[in-house]
């Protein structure tokens, strides 16, 4: 196995060496600096949608999504300036207000990445007007349930279905705030002919949008599954 040449960059003032081509997110993580994410999941292709992992790079006025931007030699990255913290709090609030996120009655309470992030960032209330959407809940499948009101459109389920399970049952329809996760050509889940009922979508869902009926959430959630399978597949 040939290793890429190593490059050196600075993240939050710490000198770090990583192989060329590593993303900023991975470089930081490997060195104990955690950048908040919601849509990114190791083992799946990066998506760059949630905008929580935005970081500042000295010398550029733009913000860069750490999950997708490769580290380059001599880069100076800031991951936790006041502005970034403020932006992250804004993003979490906007997601909370977008659809129905009421932790107390949610199946994923205490096992939700959005909730954990809100706690971590100190978002104790939502200043924006909350929306109580009436998106469809589909429980036609034998045990998988999707409550689209809790969906944050991170597309982890879609990517794991396509890239790891290889069936691409799930995808998006419509755009803007009406965007929805659908099965096949907008079938109900019970009628989906391609779904293999592999449960991976439920395992990686960061919130309580996809869950397994009658199963304790602690047992369902297994967000390392993508990384695990990808690593095993790449093993020679």
């Amino acid at each position: 196995m040939t290793l890429n040449p190593m490059i050196t960059l600075k993240i939050d003032g710490v000198q770090i060496s990583v192989p060329e081509g590593t993303t900023i997110l991975k470089a930081a993580k490997d060195n104990g600096i955690l950048i908040p994410t919601l849509c990114d999941l190791e083992g799946l292709t990066p998506y760059g949608g949630c905008r929580l992992c935005l970081v500042e790079v000295t010398g550029s006025p733009k913000l860069f999504p750490a999950c997708i931007t490769p580290a380059s030699p001599g880069m100076e990255v800031t991951t936790n300036s006041d502005r970034l913290k403020d932006y992250r709090r804004t993003a979490v609030q906007m997601l909370m207000a977008e659809r129905v996120h009421i932790c107390a009655v949610c199946v994923a309470n205490d096992h939700c990445e959005l909730q954990a992030l809100a706690n971590q960032l100190g978002v104790d209330h939502v200043a924006l007007e909350r929306n109580f959407t009436r998106e469809q809940i589909d429980s036609s499948h034998d045990f998988l349930v999707i409550d689209r009101n809790r969906c944050i459109l991170c597309t982890r389920c879609i990517r794991i279905c396509d890239q790891i399970e290889g069936v691409h049952t799930l995808d998006l329809k419509l755009r803007s705030k009406n965007t929805e996760v659908i099965m096949d050509l907008d079938e109900s889940w019970g009628n989906s002919c391609s779904c293999t009922s592999c449960r991976k979508c439920a395992k990686v869902c960061p919130v309580g949008a996809i869950y397994i009926e009658g199963e304790p959430i602690t047992q369902t959630k297994n967000r390392d599954v993508a990384e695990f399978i990808t690593a095993r597949r790449n093993r020679k």
Partner: protein, 509 residues
């Protein structure tokens, strides 16, 4: 109308000296249908079926123009410089012979016969042409990036996905002079070493699609597209791809996935399309207006092109001039012209004797500029400084009857509808902003709403993934900057000076 003229020509027996042809749009929206008599550039306005006989009899047969219905608005064309639209309204877009007769495809022949690909790239680079799609990236630099990329095959995508409301420049170009686009793509193909091109056009433009299809077929017949173009080794093939009506599909990375046949969602850059574009191959994405400039530059040289516009921002730009104005239409002006010249000299001032209030430059994600900024010259950098953008070239003039809060709300609404739904700030953020606008325009606004608006707008423009989200708050930010007192009136006095807002409440009373 066409038939009326044909009949009249037959009636007076002048078929052999006079040819009646359908052309593309000449750009004068307010006085259609228009008829142009050549030679002499006599333009007749608001022609009726009855006028047809009169024009043929007096003008063609007797040689006396019918002064009564001649177009009499000199100012409209005087300040314009028509390079890209040089043939609009003057040639029959359905006949390739017409295009060739005015010097069409000569530039391509010049490239193939006398210039190296690098020479063409240098020519474009020296001309200082910048991308006309809105962002203004130097065209020559883009071409040389793709030309230098090692991977093959390479592709060209011409962007004709003009989604902004009230913008019709690219459409007119495609309908009036489709071969200029094709020639531009051929030249770009030669310069960067691409052999396949796609024109991405929205399905909402049936006439433009038809015209382009015809033009492509004719070019193929004449061996201008395909293998061994003009008996050289150069190959180039062209295909149309139809958009499904999404505004965001005009974004550089979204257009690529849409051409590939997938859901039009932008992706972060890098990797840039110049290295990894269509099917991960190097791809040149260019607005059709930029491409239509290429034949002119090649034919006349970069020095000639630099004589138009400003030193650091050369050439001309097409604008769709609409709104409360006397002469709406499609105009092409040199860079550096002021907004005042556009609104008053070309546009003829505000219609119905109303007072000027604001001008929105750059489409739904442009900026609303007030009266004092009419002196601002139009080029990429000055517009950016005052909070607007060049965008796709939409200019909407608003009079005193428009409420600026409502205007900002309207354009925000558009961007919400057209957001692809991928990233949080644009999808969730804009929708929250809209709720604040709804409160303000129904009399439930609070003073700290302005702060929230400002903060959210800043967040959305900095954190969004693509140009749509990054520019979407522009109307909000500029109206807050230049028309703040109107927001305060809405919130404190519950009053709308234009009488647009609070309508529902009045109805209830």
């Amino acid at each position: 109308m066409l038939k009326a003229f044909e009949d009249a020509v037959k009636e007076f027996g002048v078929e052999n000296i006079c040819k009646v042809a359908r052309t593309g749009c000449i750009g004068t929206c307010s006085v259609g249908p228009a008829v142009l008599v050549d030679p002499g550039d006599y333009l007749y306005q608001c022609v009726t079926l009855e006028n047809a006989r009169e024009i043929v009899q007096k003008h063609i047969v007797l040689g006396e123009p019918v002064k009564r219905i001649l177009y009499n608005n000199e100012g409209y064309f005087q300040k314009q410089q028509r390079l890209v639209l040089r043939n609009a309204g003057k040639i029959d877009p359905t006949r390739i012979q017409d295009y060739i007769s005015v010097g069409g495809y000569f530039a391509l022949a010049k490239c193939l016969a006398t210039m190296t690909p690098q020479g063409v790239v240098d020519e474009i680079t020296n001309s200082g042409l910048r991308g006309r799609g809105g962002a203004g990236f130097p065209v020559g630099q883009k071409w040389s990036l793709v030309a230098r990329a090692h991977n093959t095959p390479k592709y060209i995508v011409a962007n004709l996905d003009e989604g902004d409301p009230g913008v019709f420049a690219n459409r007119t170009l495609a309908e009036a002079d489709p071969h200029a686009i094709i020639e531009g793509m051929l030249i770009a193909g030669y310069a960067i070493g691409a052999q396949k091109g796609y024109i991405y056009i929205r399905s909402e433009y049936p006439l433009a699609i038809q015209t382009l299809q015809k033009a492509i077929a004719q070019a193929k017949d004449m061996n201008l597209l395909g293998d061994n173009i003009l008996e050289t080794q150069h190959k180039f093939d062209l295909e149309l791809r139809f958009g499904a009506g999404a505004f965001v599909a005009g974004e550089e990375t979204a257009i690529l996935v849409s051409v590939e046949g997938r859901r039009a969602q932008p992706r972060p850059r890098p990797p840039y399309p110049a290295n990894q574009g269509l099917w991960t191959k190097p791809t040149l994405i260019q607005n059709v207006e930029s491409l239509a400039n290429a034949p002119l530059i090649v034919l006349n040289g970069w020095a000639w092109f630099k004589s138009f516009g400003l030193p650091n921002c050369t050439g001309t730009k097409c604008f769709s001039l609409t709104g409360e104005i006397n002469n709406p239409g499609l105009i092409e002006v040199p860079m550096g012209i002021t907004l005042r010249e556009i609104v008053y000299d070309i546009g003829g001032g505000i219609s119905n004797g109303k007072k000027f209030k604001s001008v929105l430059v750059g489409g739904p994600s442009g900026g609303c500029l007030p009266e004092p900024l009419l002196e601002a010259p139009i080029d990429y950098d000055s517009l950016k400084k005052v909070g607007a953008i060049m965008g796709s070239g939409g200019i909407v003039v608003l009079n005193e009857n428009s409420c600026m809060v409502d205007t900002a709300r309207y354009f925000t609404d558009f961007c919400i509808e057209e957001s692809c739904g991928k990233c949080t700030p644009c999808r969730a953020g804009l929708a929250r902003v809209k709720e604040i606008f709804d409160r303000i325009t129904t009399g439930e606004g609070e003073l700290n709403d302005i702060d929230i608006l400002e903060k959210a707008s800043e967040y959305i423009s900095n954190a969004s993934l693509c140009g749509l989200g990054q520019t979407a708050p522009n109307p909000i930010l500029t109206t807050l900057r230049y028309f703040r007192e109107e927001y305060l009136e809405h919130i404190v006095d519950k009053k709308c000076r234009a009488g647009v807002c609070f309508k529902n409440e009045k109805a209830e009373e």
